[in-house]
Symmetry: C2
Subunit: 101 residues, 2 copies
């Protein structure tokens, strides 16, 4: 059915919550925190996940400017996803949340 898309994020935090919602995004974000992540590596580590789910999550997180996609043209030629500047700026605040969750 048609979604009327009534609220263009009248609340900024609500938008952010949605950007990090879903079954795998928080974990992907967290892994990216530790260093660059790769498609198949995520698939192996996130037990119970699927190619589809990982692909969609990565694509959306990239569009939302939470992570950056980089094609590494050397040696084994692969793709790396790293936390973007925006992603990193969120981490600072997440750390504060940890102390009072």
């Amino acid at each position: 059915m048609e979604e009327i898309e009534s609220d263009p994020a009248q609340c900024p935090v609500e938008g952010l919550l949605k950007q990090l919602s879903g079954k795998w995004k928080p974990q992907i974000f967290r892994m990216a925190l530790a260093g660059p992540v790769r498609f198949n590596a995520l698939l192996r580590v996130l037990e119970g996940s699927s190619k589809q789910a990982i692909a969609v999550a990565l694509k959306e997180m990239e569009q939302q400017n939470l992570i950056d996609k980089k094609v590494i043209k050397l040696k084994p030629l692969h793709i790396e996803y790293t936390l973007s500047e925006r992603g990193k700026s969120l981490v600072v605040i997440f750390r504060q949340l940890e102390h009072l969750v």
Copy 2:
């Protein structure tokens, strides 16, 4: 099917994200920010919502200690939901997020 409940929130922020996920919780949280909210009032204001959805959201948010449920025994005898202390402490951090979303 059985859910194995594998990760008992290895990441505190992930738990919080889940507590505020769902179609109505963010909006209920936001409304509670402005003052006590009531069941039927939410139902009227949140267009497209349902008794069921509101009831479940309120119940879960109460269990998660985000809001407090209070039976007001006077005058028209009703129930009020207000932001709990924990709820209020989160607001401070959400305000910071607003500046860099």
